[in-house]
């Protein structure tokens, strides 16, 4: 296992940013979208070059600038970062196809702005994935908040502006108010912010201070939407569906969970947290959020809002995995980043496709829609199964590892919480499927011949649903990366 000093991480991070000038200056919409594809494929190619070495246990590093003592702006590609970058970038390709279908079908305004900020958001997400220390991660985390803001408030009406303010208020408020002082304190105690420095030594600070620091960082990374800092996520659903699907189900929210995972394993160190029993704080917060979010999801009639609360619950699985601090638990948590990503993005794609084809946003009005949109609803079914964790879908595997982690460390209560949460997931997803296929259409437009959304809105969810199934049988790239990272 050795470290390769190479500029490749920087190139990979910068690849999505290359698309931005092209997107802005493109003459026609087709050329503009070609830039997004070109950047996404370039990014994938650069990642693919690094995968073999990373799978062999090596890391790539690159230092951009020595800015603060013990905290340079530096990149490191390890297994965990690679896993997250692969998920985000491969789904970026699919989402771009979907965005084209969705944005053109809805005849959305300001599409250039939309695609531009979309590319820069991916840039920030990959930056977070490849950050070598807390400072670099904070840098990209902040930039991501600001690049997503115009996407959240895309519709520019009073409702979406309010959502934008709420989004910024929660995300930036917590990152400056909580993460920044915590980061200064960590630097004060350890003199370093690097994730590979072995964490805070036990004697460096007393246990009260460490507890406070942990809480500051848990809730400070509000993109992970732990309760009570989850409020922004349902509000952000006013954004166009491609934003909700890639950013608010995958890239942005998982950046939050990713940061928490990194902080737990890299900044504090598993030994320190276990010695002070602080892992119970993490699992406790995660368990409460998991159950509460699922219960709230049951009562939501807005399809995207129900999906949003489901996301809040599912993100806590990842945080739970971090809190378990066993190999199986960490593997499960990291694996859940990819498994949930493919499942949840499918569901959002379907919600958007329904909206594009019929204009419906509420679950109570979806009776019998399966007759009209069979392909969409099939994808929806598979996505739901993956989130619930029923084989043969990828979601089963990550939950399996998480359950193993709970039982392995004797955390029976947490195992029970996981099972109850899965039941709740079924309780809020399966009725939608039931309505779609087994209730008679009470809206005239849902009956009759098959009339799906445009092809570009149908193919992406089918692809991601297909991948969710394939991942059950062949999870190895993600599973190996997660195992490697957990060890």
């Amino acid at each position: 296992m050795y470290s390769i000093y190479s500029i490749q991480p920087l190139l990979a991070v910068a690849a999505p940013l290359l698309a931005v000038p092209g997107i802005i200056s493109a003459r026609t919409p087709n050329i503009r979208e070609a830039w997004s594809f070109a950047a996404a494929l370039l990014l994938l190619a650069l990642l693919a070059c690094m995968v073999p070495a990373v799978l062999a246990g090596h890391t790539y590093t690159w230092v951009l600038a020595e800015v603060l003592p013990g905290a340079p702006i530096a990149f490191r590609v390890d297994a965990f970062g690679m896993l997250f970058a692969l998920v985000s970038s491969s789904l970026w390709v699919v989402t771009t196809v979907y965005s084209i279908g969705y944005m053109r079908a809805k005849n959305e305004h300001a599409q250039t702005r939309f695609f531009g900020y979309f590319a820069s958001s991916i840039f920030c997400a990959v930056g977070v994935a490849f950050s070598a220390n807390l400072l670099t991660m904070y840098l990209f985390y902040e930039l991501l908040s600001f690049s997503t803001y115009p996407l959240v408030a895309h519709h520019q009406n009073e409702e979406s502006r309010k959502a934008g303010r709420k989004y910024l208020g929660f995300i930036v408020g917590t990152s400056i108010g909580l993460v920044l002082p915590a980061m200064v304190a960590v630097h004060h105690f350890t003199g370093s912010l690097d994730f590979a420095s072995g964490g805070i030594a036990l004697g460096a600070a007393d246990s009260t201070t460490l507890t406070v620091l942990l809480c500051l960082l848990l809730f400070g990374f509000a993109k992970a939407a732990l309760m009570p800092v989850h409020v922004w996520l349902p509000a952000a659903m006013v954004a166009p569906t491609p934003v909700s699907s890639l950013l608010h189900a995958v890239a942005v929210v998982k950046v939050g969970a990713f940061c928490i995972m990194r902080v737990v394993t890299g900044t504090f160190g598993v030994e320190t947290l276990q010695a002070l029993h602080l892992n119970d704080v993490i699992t406790g917060v995660a368990a409460v959020t998991m159950l509460a979010a699922s219960l709230i999801a049951l009562s939501q009639d807005g399809l995207k809002r129900r999906l949003a609360y489901s996301t809040i619950g599912q993100l806590s699985y990842i945080v739970l995995g971090a809190g378990l601090m066993t190999t199986a638990g960490l593997t499960g948590g990291m694996l859940h980043i990819s498994m949930h990503a493919f499942g949840k993005i499918t569901l959002f794609f379907c919600a958007g496709a329904i909206y594009v084809a019929t204009g419906e946003k509420y679950i109570s009005r979806l009776n019998g829609i399966g007759y009209r949109m069979p392909w969409t609803m099939t994808a929806f079914l598979i996505g739901s199964l993956s989130i619930i964790g029923i084989p043969p879908t990828g979601g089963f595997l990550s939950k399996w590892y998480l359950l193993n982690g709970c039982i392995g460390s004797g955390q029976w209560v947490l195992a029970l919480v996981l099972l109850v949460s899965s039941l709740l997931n079924a309780a809020y997803f399966l009725p939608i499927v039931y309505r779609a296929w087994f209730c008679a259409p009470d809206q005239a437009q849902h009956s009759g011949p098959v009339r799906e959304a445009p092809l570009a809105c149908i193919v992406p969810p089918l692809i991601t649903a297909g991948i969710s199934v394939i991942l059950f049988f062949y999870p190895y790239p993600f599973l190996n990366l997660a195992r490697l990272a957990a060890n």
Binding site: L64, A65, E66, V67, L68, P69, P72, I73, L135, Y138, L139, E142, L143, F146, Y149, P150, A153, Q156, R161, G164, R165, L168, V172, G173, I176, G177, L180, P181, V184, A185, H187, H188
Partner: protein, 484 residues
């Protein structure tokens, strides 16, 4: 001739020539000014290089050796300041050519001359090694500054008069304190004073002298509660004067305080009460500045109140009393100058197109003036403290230093002010980004204004990424080893 003199001489000469041109051919005044600033900037850069290579540069005025003669002493920190001041003045002068020429049509030569004198005064303050000479240069900078700030519409002469009254009180306190010091020690030369003070017993009169000097400087730098003159003076004057003065005056006064603390009083001759009072005032300045900024409808006055808060940042850093916080304050002098310059330049350009700077008047700016707004965003992000912009790193050192000394309220002040800045700037961005520009709007973005602005804005990123280098090369060597 010596580089130190060569940074100042072109400006004095330029002021003289511009006045002459005003009597004969006033079109020549602007080019004369531009050449003077450019030359001065060039020598400042040369001086910085030579100081970095060979160490502190000393120049004896008229060949008289200290402590009797006047000396100019330029170390790495002051050389950096000289580059900063001359560059900031040069960029302002180039970007606001249109205003200087047609705003003050028949007075443009006088305006250019005053501009040169103000810059020369500020650069002299930074370069001098003599406390009385410092007073003279403070007055040179201030008197020409009052006149510059009086150029403007509406109430700006009154605001400038207000500034003149308060500023004179501050300068008088400073002079009084220097007088006491002279009575006690018989010297005015900084290095000489430091030697004598270190060797002499600590007395009440010494404490009194130091206290009065600091009080005078606090008034001059608009530290709360002496900040009353600043919003009026910067908020009402012409954008040129505001853009020239806002990045310089308060920061140069903070520089003077830092210089006196580290070069004249490095020992324990400061009474214990002063740091405590200073940090308290600084914290209050941050909170009051932020709250007042939030309440403004005019965006220029809002920026002026942000400056009041920023003064609090620096004074707090200086008086917290550890190395990290001092580093933060010194770095923030650079960072705050640069981001204030960016914001005021951008606002100046916008004000020329839109007139009133109320929120409702700023709709659609991102569409009509994209480059100006991009620069404005960078300046704002730096004020908020987003990495990798310059403002983040100085804030980091300040936070870190405050934590090390247990100054939690000051820390909270820094964080609250960052959060208030988010609200202030995004309130503006929301209108400028999402609202459509009005029917009658005909905004023009000319390259001659955008280029200097773009350079300054990009410098915020470059300086941020090189902040490690800046601390290492310009700042770390200056802070006395006794400060831990």
């Amino acid at each position: 001739m010596h580089d130190v003199v060569l940074t100042l001489l072109p400006l004095l000469l330029g002021a003289f020539l511009a006045t002459l041109a005003g009597w004969t051919r006033s079109v020549l005044a602007y080019p004369v000014g531009a050449i003077a600033l450019l030359t001065s900037f060039g020598f400042a850069v040369k001086l910085l290089c030579s100081v970095l290579a060979h160490g502190t540069a000393t120049y004896l005025l008229g060949g008289w050796s200290p402590p009797w003669g006047i000396v100019f002493v330029v170390d790495t920190f002051s050389a950096g300041m000289l580059v900063l001041i001359s560059a900031s003045a040069l960029f302002t002068f180039l970007a606001f050519r249109a205003e200087i020429l047609d705003h003050f049509a028949e007075k443009s030569a006088a305006f250019v001359a005053l501009f040169m004198l103000t810059v020369a005064g500020h650069m002299g303050i930074v370069a001098t090694g003599d406390l009385f000479n410092l007073y003279v240069l403070i007055e040179v900078a201030a008197l020409s500054g009052y006149a510059l700030l009086g150029f403007g519409t509406g109430r700006s002469p009154l605001a400038s008069l207000n500034y003149l009254c308060i500023g004179s009180v501050g300068a008088s306190f400073y002079l009084l304190g220097v007088g006491y010091l002279y009575m006690l020690t018989g010297s005015l030369n900084m290095a000489d004073l430091a030697r004598i003070i270190a060797a002499s017993p600590v007395t009440v009169s010494m404490h009194g002298a130091v206290g009065v000097i600091l009080l005078g400087l606090w008034v001059k730098m608009a530290l709360f509660p002496f900040h009353g003159w600043l919003p009026g003076a910067y908020g009402m004057t012409s954008p040129v004067s505001a853009t020239l003065m806002a990045p310089l005056t308060t920061k140069v006064m903070v520089y003077v305080v830092i210089r006196i603390l580290i070069s004249v009083l490095p020992g324990a001759s400061i009474p214990d009460a002063i740091p405590a009072v200073a940090v308290t005032l600084a914290t209050a300045a941050i909170f009051v500045g932020s709250v007042m900024a939030f309440r403004q409808t005019d965006q220029r006055r809002m920026l002026a109140y942000i400056l009041v808060a920023e003064v609090g940042y620096m004074v707090g850093g200086v008086f917290i009393g550890n190395r990290t916080a001092m580093t933060g304050a010194m770095l923030h002098v650079f960072a705050d100058s640069l981001m204030t310059l960016t914001l005021f330049m951008a606002v100046g350009s916008i004000a020329r197109q839109r007139g009133e700077m109320t929120l409702g008047n700023l709709s659609g700016l991102f569409r009509t003036m994209p480059f100006t707004m991009a620069a404005f965003v960078l300046g704002a992000m730096s004020m908020i403290g987003v990495p990798p912009l310059f403002g983040f790193f100085s804030k980091w050192y300040l936070l870190s230093g405050a934590l090390a000394s247990g100054q939690y309220v000051f820390m909270a002040g820094l964080l609250v002010s960052s959060l208030v800045n988010v609200v202030l700037f995004f309130r503006l961005f929301e209108t400028a980004f999402f609202d459509a520009p009005g029917e009658s709007v005909r905004d023009i973005e000319h390259w001659s204004r955008v280029t200097p602005l773009a350079i300054v804005a990009v410098l915020l990123i470059v300086a941020g990424l090189s902040s490690g280098l800046i601390v290492d090369r310009l700042i770390a060597g200056i802070i006395p080893a006794s400060l831990i």
